[in-house]
């Protein structure tokens, strides 16, 4: 006998059978920070269900890396979290260096720390700008962009690029700072704390801002850990986990800084944590600048580091990477990256950014896998918005600080 199948007939008017009001938020939406798409099931203005869909910005960066040499794949990491490209570069370089056993000169480590913290400030500025704009405060947006512009200009002076910097190299950095850049950075670090105070006076005591952020999307510490949150989003819940302190890389063991943590784990605490992080980043840059003078004139690239060897200009159209050694190397004696696998994680502005690289000794990575904080954070959105209102969902997207370039890769 055939199994009986219960056929649901739609009964209009019965609460259990009524179709939920589904709103398709994104991928083209002013405040989904790129191309995030959310299926929202609404009951009035209250969110009943939320289903994030990703993949609209997938460019296959991980797969692409497999066909490029280690040095070439570096530029792809710029495009992960395009707001803080210097941090992505550093993470990747650290992974390859660990694989090769290279030790980076001290000056290069200091320079990397500076650009990483600059990336943190510029990323947090962009976050503050968009977060405030999403909640409706449009003036903060432009103020933040003004200061971010200053940082981007400094980046331009450092390496010629503003957004996708590719400043670090495997085994060091590409160029040393000129004295002009150091002076400019001193000026910036002098000025910047007062700018943060400006933003805080604009929104910190604003009743509407407090109403919109306090008690919104509360994540208790255990839940935050279970959701896999990292970075400021985790520290807002009161878990003092920071890769810079737990597994120091570059020059973070030389500098003094504090790891700000929140108490309640709500949107307001995460906001406070990021504001405080900007101050700490400023402090780190300051200390590194002071230390730079001690290492004046030292090399910025490790001995024996692989580098891109540009073919002669007229041969450029036919140039191909070395078939055996993998990447184009400066001199034939430079060793090819040995076989092995490595995982290195750094504290990117958005959270813990990890690189897992498997090398088969061919000179090209066999597999590159990026542990992107945004990907994990997006998966936490449905948990965090449940029971909140439509207006809160954009506050949640903002407070997690997701970037789709990093999520989709």
């Amino acid at each position: 006998m055939a199994p009986t199948v219960e056929i649901h007939s739609r009964q209009i008017g019965h609460p259990e059978w009524e179709e939920p009001f589904v709103v398709n938020m994104g991928p083209q939406h002013p405040s989904t920070h790129g191309v995030l798409r959310l299926f929202l099931e609404l009951d009035g203005e209250t969110i009943v269900g939320c289903d994030p869909r990703i993949g609209y910005l997938h460019r296959g960066l991980e797969k692409l890396s497999e066909n490029l040499t280690y040095s070439q794949a570096l530029v792809l990491t710029d495009r992960l979290d395009y707001i803080s490209s210097a941090a992505n570069n550093t993470g990747y370089c650290l992974a390859v260096e660990k694989l090769m056993g290279l030790s980076v000169p001290r000056r290069a480590r200091l320079l990397r720390t500076i650009v990483c913290e600059m990336a943190r400030i510029s990323s947090h500025l962009l976050w503050l700008a968009t977060h405030a704009l999403d909640i409706g405060a449009m003036t903060v947006f432009l103020y933040c962009f003004r200061d971010r512009e200053w940082l981007l200009d400094i980046y331009e002076k450092i390496c010629g690029a503003r957004l996708t910097v590719s400043y670090t190299r495997i085994g060091g950095v590409r160029l040393d700072f000129t004295s002009e850049i150091v002076e400019e950075l001193y000026r910036f670090t002098e000025e910047f704390p007062s700018r943060i105070t400006d933003y805080e006076t604009l929104i910190d005591v604003n009743r509407i801002w407090l109403k919109r952020t306090k008690g919104i999307a509360v994540v208790p510490p255990e839940k935050a850990l279970n959701l896999g949150l990292t970075g400021p989003s985790l520290r807002g819940s009161g878990v003092p986990y920071d890769v810079r302190k737990f597994r120091p890389y570059d020059a973070y063991d030389e500098v003094e800084f504090e790891v700000p943590v929140g108490q309640n784990g709500d949107t307001y605490d995460r906001y406070r944590v990021r504001m405080e992080e900007m101050r700490q980043a400023n402090r780190i840059i300051r200390q590194c600048l002071d230390k730079l003078s001690e290492t004046e004139g030292e090399p910025v690239v490790a001995e024996g580091a692989p580098d891109l060897l540009m073919p002669e200009k007229k041969k450029a159209p036919q140039a191909v990477p070395h078939p055996k050694k993998g990447f184009l190397v400066k001199g034939a004696e430079v060793p090819v990256v040995p076989e092995g696998e490595v995982y290195v994680s750094i504290e990117a502005p958005k959270g813990e950014l990890g690189y897992y690289i498997v090398s088969d000794g061919s000179g090209k990575p066999w597999r590159v896998r990026v542990r992107a904080p945004s990907f994990v954070h997006i998966s936490a959105i449905p948990e965090m918005v449940k029971g909140h209102m439509v207006a809160d969902i954009i506050a949640v997207i903002g407070t997690l600080d997701v970037v789709l370039g990093e999520c989709d890769r």
Partner: protein, 329 residues
């Protein structure tokens, strides 16, 4: 012939006056958008429009021309009649209120005895445009925007009407010109001082009524993309925009008339009878713009809470106290 002329002439004069008022009001509305962009630009350390004409002064005209030449898109499945009608309801209701505003002692287009009621009625009517457009667009965002608008207007309409009751009690009239005259005769010269609570409630409700920041929930850009007019394009979109600014001008004009003493001022400015009225109007418009540059947006339930739990009790209390004072003094 003479008889006909005698019969028609008052009508012609009225039409002429109405046209003058409308054109002047339209110019004000157009240049309010310009002023808003310039002032907010200044507050946000940028320039604002400065390309069209000297100092960007022709920008509003360029905007209108652009909107007129844009394609007028009607989404599939939209309720066509209502979709076309909605922006006009908003605009006409907003603009008609101007008729009862006494710009000057000798320039009141419609000197009706229930002027204040007319203003309130028309401002509620203009929200129909918002609700209908949200419903007729056949879009979820627009629908949510329309729903928010209806809830918002219902709650803030009450607070606004109640805040004006204090003024009516003091002046003993609903005729706006009478209210201005009564104010000039009162000890403080303006009702904003004895009716400070009413003035506050009225200004907050007026901002909510015109869907401006921080109460711009029906069109919350970052949540509902553009809210109720998300599906509109071209000049129909422009009409909604126009209606919003008309609402701003009208609400400011009502506030000037009812609380700030209308056309009367500390001294007469020779040759410029509208001087004080316009000065106060511009000050209030500037307030609107200033608020927009400063404040974030309320959440839907917080907005309702503010309306029902704070503004309405406040204005009721205000009526009570005003009534008692009126009784004993």
């Amino acid at each position: 012939m003479e008889g006909i002329l005698k019969a028609v002439l008052p009508g012609l004069i009225l039409v002429g006056e109405a046209l003058v008022l409308l054109v002047v009001a339209l110019l004000h509305v157009a240049y309010t958008t310009y002023a808003e962009r310039k002032v907010i630009g200044r507050m946000q350390q940028r320039l604002g429009p400065n390309r069209v004409g000297p100092r960007g002064l022709l920008q509003p005209i360029a905007d209108v021309l652009k909107l007129l030449t844009k394609e007028d898109i009607v989404p599939l499945g939209a309720e066509k009649g209502l979709f076309y009608l909605a922006p006009f309801i908003s605009l006409v209701a907003g603009a008609t209120s101007l008729a009862v505003i006494p710009v000057w002692e000798k320039f009141v287009l419609a000197n009706v005895n229930v002027g204040l009621l007319v203003v309130l009625a028309l401002s509620s009517l203009s929200s129909y445009g918002v609700i209908l457009s949200g419903w007729a667009s056949n879009s979820r965002y627009a629908f949510l925007g329309g729903l928010r608008a209806s809830a918002q207007v219902v709650s803030y309409e009450v607070a606004m009407a109640l805040s004006l009751v204090g003024v009516i009690l003091l002046a003993g009239s609903m005729n706006l010109a009478e209210i201005v005259k009564a104010q000039a005769a009162s000890p403080f010269k303006v009702y904003a001082i004895p009716q400070i609570v009413g003035f506050f409630v009225f200004m907050v409700s007026a901002i909510a009524e015109t869907n401006r920041v921080p109460f711009d929930l029906p069109e919350a850009e970052t949540e509902l993309v553009a809210g109720y007019f998300v599906e509109y394009s071209g000049i129909r979109f422009g009409l909604f925009y126009l209606a919003e600014y008309f609402g701003m001008v009208v609400m400011s004009a009502v506030a000037v008339t009812c609380f700030l003493g209308g056309w009367s001022g500390p001294f007469e400015v020779p040759g410029l009878p509208f001087f004080w009225f316009l000065l106060k109007l511009y000050a209030l418009l500037f307030l609107y713009i200033w608020v927009r540059a400063t404040l974030p947006r309320y959440r839907y339930d917080q907005l309702m809470g503010l309306g029902w739990k704070i503004l309405i009790p406040l204005s009721l209390l205000n009526i009570l106290i005003t009534g008692l004072i009126k009784l004993w003094v």
